[in-house]
Every structure is written in structure tokens, then in C-alpha cells.
Amino acid sequence: MGNAIKWVDRRFPLSTFIKHELTDYPTPRNLTSWWNFGFLAGFVLMLQIISGVFLAMHYKPDSMLAFDSVEHIMRSVNYGWLIRYMHSTGASAFFAIIYIHMARSLYYTCFRPPRELMWWSGQVLLLLLMATAFMGYLLPWGQMSYWGAQVITNLFRATPFFGDQIVVWLRGDFSIGDATLNRFFVLHYLFPFIIIGGVFLHLVALHYIKSSNPLGIELDKEDKIPFHPYFTIKDLYGLGLFLIIFCAFVFFKPDMFIEPTNNIPANPMKTPAHIVPEWYFLPFYAILRSIPDLVGGVVAMGASVLIFAALPYLDRSTIPAGAHYRPIYRIMFFVFVLDVVALGYLGAQPPSDETLLYGRLASLLYFSVFVLLPSISIREDRWLRRRGLPKAVEAFIKAEQAEIAEKKAKQRRRGGA
């Protein structure tokens, strides 16, 4: 065994890799359980890929056969129901985990320098996840699959100049049909592997700048503990707890994430009374609906997802660890979370004057949080520093600002020469 490893090490940096990324990889010892969700997201990605591959062995991406092939999986394939329910519940679990993962980064302002690239790669991963989930939802070829895809692809009509052509190009037909189903299946199979690539970049960036921590400050060397065994066992314990919740849904409430209407085969001639997207798209859907104009709605919905990328510039505070030291920011965080939940609820309601009004107010609040963040964070920063922060935090801010000042001075000197 030892010789075999030596043989490999001579040709491939196996031992150094394990040492550098696991057994020596320094991790802040004060990470809370909220830091478990990155690992869980990776786990669910693998679960989705593996269950998805097995589903694809029995699924038929053909508008005449798709619905029946899913029922075939549910009834005739050995443990097909288990694989299918793991996959359908897994999609919801994936979004729940990613949203918590994002909320953790928001709460502790993990997006602040030097972690902007981690934040932005995460943003790209979120978009890829949304696209994958959206295309996957068409595959069972139920009524909600069909009409959901019809509504969402129709949004691309808002594209300037080529709107109608783009919609036809995406669908491969004038309306959702066999061509759409086939290409969505192909892309739904492809995208997860692109996501793996994105996750790899996300992790390379992480292992280069290392994890942030709930205090935001640079910890003493002694307080950075090796990832293995400390965080491998913590992640495994977290995985156990996650699996209990996940399996409770898979075995006892799998229908909770499948709209009853989606158990009716797609019928292009009959629009369901009430088209709702999956729960994880509801907040964005509510923002889309709250603007009466198609182009305006699409722009607002796109902005509501993409605006997260601007956070490293919108948050002007010098104080690390976000809500941990910043009471105003903490309030804003919880207001934002509640607002997203409210939007989600409103997105699920049939449109009425009431839901429209509340939807508009909630959308306004959603964007105001981002728009007001620069001025609020500057004022809060001044107030808190006047009031005095813990010594370690003061020292951290001083060191960070000295570094920035030095960089600026260097640039000026270079510019002068």
C-alpha cells in the first residue's frame, strides 16, 4: 500500500493534495452549523446526478410517451418510486439548502472582499441550478410542467427586436412540444455537469482564500484547525440530520412537492385554472407579476436574482462579520428574509387586487433593501465605530484599511513614475 502510494505520488500529487485540502487545510474552529450547508449542497448535487442517471435509463423524452414512462418508473421499475421521489424531493432540498447557504453568506457578509469571486461563482451556480430545475420540471409532461414552461419561455418575448424569434428558437416550435421536451431533457442532463465544473471553481477559490468565520476577523493560527477530522465529522453529523428530514419527506410526504395538477397529462388545448411555479421560484414569480408590463416584469424578475452580485459594492461598511456586529444590518437581514417568504406566499395566490397590492409593496421592499444598503451601511458604520467595537474587530479594520491605503499609494507611485 505504502509503495503504491509512493508510486502514485511520484507521478501525481495525491498525498500532497490530501494533505493540503483535507488533513492540513486550516479551517476556523468557530464555524457554526450554518457552514454545513455548502457540503450538503455538494451532497445533494451528487444525489440528484445519481438518481437522475437511473431515472434517465427508464424515462422517454417523447411527448407521447413521457408521462406514461414516469408512471412506468413509479409502478413497474424496481424501487422506481424511491428513485423518482428522491429526485423530485431532491430538487426542493437543493433549493432549500442553497437558499440557506446564501442566507448565511448574507447574514455574515461573506461576500465582502476578498471573497467576491466566491460570491459571484455562487451566483452563476444559482442561475445554472434554476435553469436545470426549470427544464427538469418539464420532463414529467404533466399539465403544470407544460403550462409552466409555456409561461416562462414566453417571457423571452421581452427580448428587444428578436423577442418572437427567440421564443420559437428556445422551444424549437411555435409552442411547447416534442422538440422542446427533447431539448430540455438533453440540457437537463448536461447542465449538472457544468454545475460540477462551477462547483470546482467555487472550491478552488474557497481553498485559496479560506473560509470566512462568524467573527469575520483573522483568527490566531492556533484557532485554525485541520478540516479532517474536525469538519469531516461535523459535516457527516449534519448530513445525518439532513437525511432524516429528507427521508421523512421522501417516504411520507413525497407528494408535497408535486402539484396535483401535474398528475394530469399535458394538454395543449386546456389551460389549467391557476398556473403556479415550484415553490422555489415563487418569490421571483411574485415580483414578475407585480409589474403589469411584460418587459418591466421580466427586467424586475431578472434584477431580483442578479442584484445579489452587486452586494460587495452595495455594502459600504468596514465592519467584518455582517449582522454579528451590526444591529441595523441584522434588522435589514430579517426584514429581507421575511419579505422573501411573503413574496413566496403571494406568488402562490391566484392574482387578485389584494395579492397584487401586497405583491407590489413586498417587491418594493425587496429592492429598497438593496438600494438603501449603501447609505444605511455607511451611517451604521460611523455610528458603531463612534460607539466602539471589540478590540479585535478594530484591529482587523485598521489592518485592512492600512493594506488598502498601501495599495493605493503604490498605484500612485507607479502612476507618477
Partner: protein, 221 residues
């Protein structure tokens, strides 16, 4: 923090309740899922519903799943093969000619409607004759399906017997829509039990591994 989240969610629940809930009321019926009840339900579906409806995902052989013996299945299927699906006795063209549409497939009906089996029960026990003597359905006004069990014009006693027949059929259709439910629940308890023990052990290991760490160095940690 947690209190604040809970308070928020409560406020939300209140908002949810005040935003008018205009759904038609369902009759919540107690479903008897015993083999005897499912067998009666299967007979009703086979003898009555199949007149116009398909159950294209249910085969005669699969009725073993509700506890029918092969003799009972043989008696039920008549000339059909055991591997045949429970398709309607009437060809779909004839059904289309009669009703203007092909009546919906029933194999997934209990999962394709909000309320599931209760929906089916409510629908079948909502037929009535209005003041002008026209047959209609309070739960689904304008439904094209006839009152095949004669509920609208039945007296109180007959209605009770129809209601119990419908309840058995609804229970059977619930099984037909999700035939693996029983197996899934049984397996689920084992899985949850296993995961609970596993998580507890992992927790113990985690405790032990982390106990190796001394006190923190960084001030304020």
C-alpha cells in the same frame, strides 16, 4: 432571533387566513383502507366506473397489491388477461361521441385533484336535482358525468348505502394512484430509525473528536 422568526411566520399565517379562501368545501370522509374495503371499491370501479373510464396504469395482476387472491382476480377480469390494464368497456370513440370528451383516466385521479380521495367522494355525493328537475352537481356544476349511482334521486337510506360504496371506491382509487404507499411507509420507518441511530453515533464521534481541542486562542472566541 428565533422568536422573531416565529412571530413573523405567525403574522404570515394570519395574512394567509385573511386572504379569502374561496375553495369549494370538501367532504372529509373517513377512508377504510382494509383489504375488504379496497376489494369492494375495486368491484365498484370494475363494474361501474369502467363503463366509461380507463385505469390505464392498473393491471388486473397488480390487484394482488390490495390483497385479492388470484381466484378473485380471475373472477374479476373475465375474458381479459391478468396482464391487461383496466380499460373501459366502451371504445374511446363511442365515449367521445356520448360525452363530447373522453372521460378522464382514473388511475391517477386520487393524486390529480386537490383533496385526493376526498375529492372523488365529494364529487360523487354532490349530485342533486334542482327546482326545475334538472340533474346537476353542487361540487362540480355543469359536469358531464351522469349520476351513475343514482344519488340525486335516492332516499336517505339508499344514500347511506351509496355513500359507503363511494367511500370504498375512493379508497381503492387512492390505492390505484399510489400503489406503493404501504411499502413506502413501512420502509420509511426502518430508514428513519437507521438514520436516527446513525446520526446519534456520528454526534458522539463528533463530540469525542472535538473534545481533543483545547481552549481557543483568539481573544473573544
Amino acid at each position: 432571533m428565533i422568536i422573531r422568526i416565529v412571530l413573523g411566520l405567525l403574522m404570515f399565517q394570519w395574512a394567509a387566513l385573511t386572504l379569502a379562501n374561496t375553495e369549494r368545501p370538501l367532504t372529509e370522509v373517513e377512508l377504510d383502507r382494509s383489504p375488504a374495503s379496497l376489494k369492494q371499491g375495486a368491484e365498484t370501479v370494475n363494474n361501474v366506473c369502467r363503463g366509461c373510464h380507463d385505469l390505464k396504469f392498473v393491471t388486473f395482476a397488480s390487484l394482488e397489491g390490495i390483497g385479492l387472491s388470484s381466484q378473485e382476480i380471475d373472477a374479476m377480469r373475465g375474458n381479459a388477461k391478468a396482464s391487461d390494464k383496466l380499460m373501459s368497456y366502451m371504445p374511446s370513440e363511442a365515449r367521445h361521441a356520448t360525452y363530447g370528451v373522453v372521460p378522464p383516466d382514473l388511475s391517477l385521479m386520487a393524486r390529480a385533484r386537490e383533496g385526493g380521495a376526498h375529492y372523488i367522494y365529494t364529487l360523487l355525493t354532490s349530485f342533486h336535482t334542482d327546482a326545475e328537475g334538472r340533474l346537476d352537481n353542487t361540487f362540480f356544476p355543469g359536469i358531464r358525468m351522469p349520476d351513475i349511482l343514482g344519488y340525486a334521486n335516492a332516499n336517505a337510506e339508499e344514500r347511506r348505502s351509496i355513500e359507503s360504496q363511494v367511500a370504498h371506491a375512493a379508497a381503492f382509487l387512492e390505492w390505484a394512484a399510489d400503489p406503493n404507499a404501504k411499502q413506502r411507509h413501512r420502509l420509511g420507518w426502518y430508514v428513519l430509525g437507521y438514520l436516527t441511530v446513525l446520526s446519534f453515533l456520528l454526534y458522539k464521534v463528533k463530540k469525542r473528536v472535538w473534545s481533543r481541542l483545547g481552549a481557543a486562542h483568539t481573544p473573544g472566541l
